[in-house]
Symmetry: C2
Amino acid sequence: MPLGKDPNCPIALSLEVVGEKWSLLIIREASTGATRFSEFQAALGIAKNVLAERLSTLVEYGVLDRQPYRDSGEREREEYVLTPAGRELRLVLGALSQWGSRNRPTESRLRHNFVDTRSGDILALRYVSESGRVVKTDAVDVKLVLLGAG
Amino acid sequence: MPLGKDPNCPIALSLEVVGEKWSLLIIREASTGATRFSEFQAALGIAKNVLAERLSTLVEYGVLDRQPYRDSGEREREEYVLTPAGRELRLVLGALSQWGSRNRPTESRLRHNFVDTRSGDILALRYVSESGRVVKTDAVDVKLVLLGAG
């Protein structure tokens, strides 16, 4: 089997979780505060059955957690909250946002800012060496390696 | 229109380019040296018509460039080379790789290392403030903003 076909490559495994149409937009909405089915539906305008399927997949893979809530006078419903693994997908959202901002010029003034929870500082995703040195993305190579190989 | 539906959100615009099944795996292969149709096909094992469609989309959006080549005694063919915008997608590949390595444990020893072209140092994607301070991903908030708004 060529290494590229390895279904256990972490990139391929991540795409299994978030590679379907709408999944990352659902995560985007969850990252800016949406928790309820109706909120995701209103924000994205997608068919309810597709939304239900995607939410179930994201719960199944442990990036969203179903939690009960009850509005006064209403029946109990469930909302969807990012798990720690789901919160960590802001790596992927940030990469897409940064790439899009640089490479797909738009007249829209809408942006997602990634900010330090404590200081509010605006952050950017950067490739950083173990010693803390920042390396430009165009000076980064991708090497396929087999861990533990001689 | 709710802001979330804005088709010009950079995250949504990026997903227009790389959000289809196989697209990011094609970019992954291109990032480790594949350029020829037959190489992508052998590495990914996908149907030729799907591969041809995906390559065309990636060319259309300016992340791959078609370039002619000719092996001795053969007819001229085209190969696919990452453009600067395509190379910058290693931000997205790195994010998926890092997320997968942490959140989808696997027995596979296959990894993609992101390394400094010059020094060979292994790199990680990190959220960094303008002053160069690294912030942990779980201490990053996502804020929807309208640029230029009061």
